[in-house]
């Protein structure tokens, strides 16, 4: 029976944006917006996504280094009770003092220079966790530190150095040694090789694999580099704008990606064979990542999705964006737009001439008719209501897709696969 070492349920982390005179909370950056997944003991779950998707925040929330805004995190650990070791499951979101559990879960950060105190000797950096949990002292402590250094491929000669004297690769090994000091079962690796050279990265990745098999570690491996994720992971989760959009076993995801974002992402990986170039067959994604303060309704990816359909969540804001990027279609100066989720009100300025309003009504009707054939934005318009002083467009009210099982070990959050 495979055991889950970590499970999250509807995990959310919002960062409030304060504004106004009294510094009130006016908006929220929804960095992680409802993430549920689990990690099996002994596996490496790869978490991939681009900047702003929330993967780093998720990694921190799991370890309770940041307090989640909502949701639960369950962690299972071997606890010694009356001379017997048994597996116990803890809801770590609800525990106040995590000091003991911290021994079981550790983190290795991306920037080795920043994650080591510049004023501490390497020896003291590695000894710190041992001293904090009173694991050993004196001679035994000294020996344990050396043992940890050797385990990561360094040696006694590095004990009495400062971090600024060592290279990035060496520092990262020290961070790994520090993380291993308390014999944890679970380590979050947050872009551990992103700031390292290629050959150093290879050494560190090999080291991480060796340690995993020697010590039976479970990893959450976060990266934006898909080749590295493919190399290290057993399963892969893809994140976009605070949510997991697809999660599957490595070979399945890399071989048959289902979510359009995953497909575009995988198609952008630069080639290793100049005769078979990525640029000749890449799927480009238009536009930029939307703001996490007000993510798109329906499916968050619909505004940039190359395969978006009319039921994917087109909304009033998208119509405004469309008009802004196609400036010739409608003279925006003559009207005021008011977007309310799935309905858009086009209000005529008071005092505008009757001819102008007629003209605007006509233009809009024509636009809708002509675009309805090809453009999913227009296809999703359910009705156009003409009133005395305004035109209201009603769009199809799509629900946000949830992660659902499509095959064994393959879950996707995409409306293309609903009811399949």
């Amino acid at each position: 029976m495979s055991q889950f070492i970590l499970e999250t349920e509807n995990l959310k982390k919002y960062f409030p944006v304060l504004g106004g005179l009294l510094g009130k909370e006016i908006e929220n950056i929804k960095a992680v917006d409802g993430v549920s997944f689990s990690i099996k003991k002994g596996e490496t779950l790869g978490l991939v996504g681009e900047s702003g998707c929330g993967k780093t925040t998720l990694g921190r929330c799991i370890l309770m280094l940041i307090k989640p805004t909502y949701g639960d995190v369950f962690f299972s650990a071997q606890i010694k009770k009356d001379d017997k070791e048994q597996l116990e499951k803890f809801n770590i979101t609800k525990i106040r003092d995590l000091k003991n559990l911290r021994r079981e879960m550790q983190i290795v950060h991306q920037d080795p220079y920043d994650s080591l105190d510049p004023r501490m000797l390497i020896k003291n950096i590695i000894a710190e966790p041992l001293k904090t949990h009173k694991v050993s002292k004196g001679r035994k402590l000294h020996e344990r530190v050396i043992e940890l250094l050797e385990q990561v491929g360094m040696g006694e000669s590095h004990l009495y150095r400062y971090s600024h004297e060592l290279s990035g690769g060496q520092l990262q090994r020290i961070c790994i040694a520090r993380a291993l000091a308390l014999n944890p079962g679970f380590i979050v690796l947050d872009e551990p090789t992103s700031s390292l050279d290629v050959s150093v990265q290879a050494q560190i990745l090999n080291l991480l694999k060796r340690l995993q098999s020697e010590l039976g570690l479970t990893y959450l491996f976060i990266s934006h580099d898909i080749s590295v994720i493919d190399h290290m992971s057993d399963r892969i989760a893809v994140m976009y704008l605070g949510k997991i959009v697809e999660i599957a076993e490595k070979d399945v995801l890399m071989g048959t990606p289902l979510h359009p974002y995953t497909r575009a992402l995988l198609s952008s990986i630069p080639t290793t064979n100049p005769r078979d170039r990525m640029l000749d067959k890449v799927i480009f994604i238009e536009g930029d990542v939307p703001s996490p303060m007000n993510p798109p309704l329906g499916c968050r990816f619909h505004t940039r999705c190359p395969e978006a359909q009319e039921y994917c969540g087109w909304e009033a804001r998208d119509f405004i964006t469309y008009l802004q990027s196609n400036p010739g279609k409608l003279d925006l100066g003559k009207v005021k737009m008011s977007a309310d989720k799935f309905s858009l009100e086009i209000l005529f300025e008071t005092g505008s001439l009757k001819n102008d309003t007629l003209e605007t009504r006509r233009v809009i009707e024509e636009l809708v008719d002509s675009e309805k054939r090809e453009n999913p934005l227009f296809k999703s318009i359910e009705k156009v209501v003409q009133k005395e002083d305004r035109i209201t467009l009603y769009f199809y009210e799509a629900n946000e897709p949830t992660l659902s099982k499509v095959k064994d070990n393959h879950e996707v959050a995409c409306l293309l696969y609903k009811d399949k």
Binding site: G168, V198, L205, D230, P270, T272, F284, D288
Partner: protein
């Protein structure tokens, strides 16, 4: 065929508190017209130093110990700062890793581009300016406008005249410079780099744009002077992979449209495979192998090149990566002879004593290695 730029035996040291860092150990490199040359290597190999030498923007503690960089028959290392200002941003331009750092956060995009235009396309602006002076649209008296016309004409013919220098400082007279501003040229330039709504973008500040946009603006600025050589130093390292694809595509397009040469500096072999024609591999201040892009991946010879290619994780590749043992050497006391010998499985005595010369082992394939030069 004569190369556009020929670097001969370039030796550059840096003086630091800890001693002299021997950053470049006699580099020989040719860059041809219209080609995309990749300069590949890891941290400290000297690839950035090489590019900064071409632009002559090295740090103040750099020491030019030997060597020359020949461009159009002249050694640009001997050029004065004035001569270099004409070339930098004009015939040679550079794209950096972090566009946010390269762009001035307090200036609108259009003003930054205008600044660059003023330096490199002044005559074009002046000619356009004369057309813009229009009595009908201006509140200024006709006499004043005539003075402006005459001044612009003077500047075209005789830009260094004293009269011009003095007159252009007088308060109302110097307003003629306003006519030089040319939003249209700027908008057209931005359109060429695939920016969707340039008229909005030019009015914005750098922090209002996304990373990909900023990179495009920087590329647009690099192209203003119709450069013969564009140096791109890790242009996509700080950018997401989907945006990287767009930027690489843009660079490829631009090279084709403008027929410029590209020197692409990176540690990422993947992007080199995407857009380069030839590659030079550097290690610890020396060039170890130069070949065309197909040979690099299909038939590399130098042990470091092979080691580098093996170290990159490939989708569906081996479980354990083959690594190069050891670390990049300290360039304060670099290894003797071939700088790679301390990490090379095949090193012999001659490798410890003599520095291998970069020699042609096959057509278009250069190698600096004592052992493998027969192995083609």
């Amino acid at each position: 065929m004569e190369p556009l730029i020929r670097i001969n035996n370039l030796v550059i040291h840096f003086s630091t508190f800890d001693g002299i860092v021997k950053a470049l150990d006699g580099i020989n490199l040719d860059i041809y017209e219209g080609e995309a040359l990749g300069l590949v290597g890891e941290t400290g190999c000297g690839k950035s130093v090489t590019s900064l030498s071409i632009m002559k923007i090295l740090a103040p503690n750099a020491l030019l110990k030997n060597g020359e960089i020949i461009y159009r028959g002249k050694n640009i290392l001997k050029f004065s700062e004035d001569e270099m200002i004409g070339i930098r941003g004009g015939e040679f331009s550079m794209i950096f890793q972090h566009p946010l750092r390269a762009l001035n956060p307090t200036m609108k995009i259009k003003n930054q581009i205008f600044e660059s235009l003023l330096l490199h396309e002044k005559n074009l602006l002046l000619r356009n300016a004369i057309e813009k002076i229009d009595e009908k649209n201006s509140k200024r008296p006709s006499a004043l406008l005539n003075i402006y016309r005459k001044l612009i004409d003077d500047e075209l013919k005789n830009p260094d005249s004293y009269k011009l220098k003095i007159l252009s400082r007088i308060p109302i007279i110097k307003k003629y410079k306003e006519y030089l501003k040319d939003d249209e040229i700027i908008i057209n330039m931005l359109k060429k780099t695939d920016i969707a709504n340039p008229s909005t973008v030019i009015e914005q500040y750098p922090h209002e744009l996304s990373g990909g946009m900023r990179q495009r603006v920087m590329i647009a600025m690099a192209l203003l002077g119709e450069p013969k050589l564009v140096i791109a130093d890790e242009p996509t390292t700080a950018v997401d992979v989907t945006i990287q694809a767009k930027v690489l595509n843009l660079i490829k397009d631009i090279m084709a449209k403008f027929n410029t040469s590209l020197l692409l500096i990176t540690h990422n072999l993947g992007i080199v495979a995407e857009i380069c024609d030839r590659v030079a591999v550097m290690y610890a201040g020396a060039i170890v192998e130069v070949c065309d892009i197909y040979t690099l991946f299909e038939n590399p010879v130098h042990p470091y090149t092979i080691g580098l290619i093996n170290a990159v994780p490939v989708i569906g590749g081996k479980k354990i990566l083959k690594t190069i043992k050891g670390l990049v050497p300290d360039l304060l006391e670099p290894p003797t002879g071939c700088r790679f010998h301390t990490r090379c499985a095949s090193a012999t005595d001659i490798c410890k004593k003599d520095k291998p010369e970069l020699m042609e082992i096959d057509e278009g394939h250069l190698l600096a290695c004592h052992i493998f030069k027969e192995n083609v």
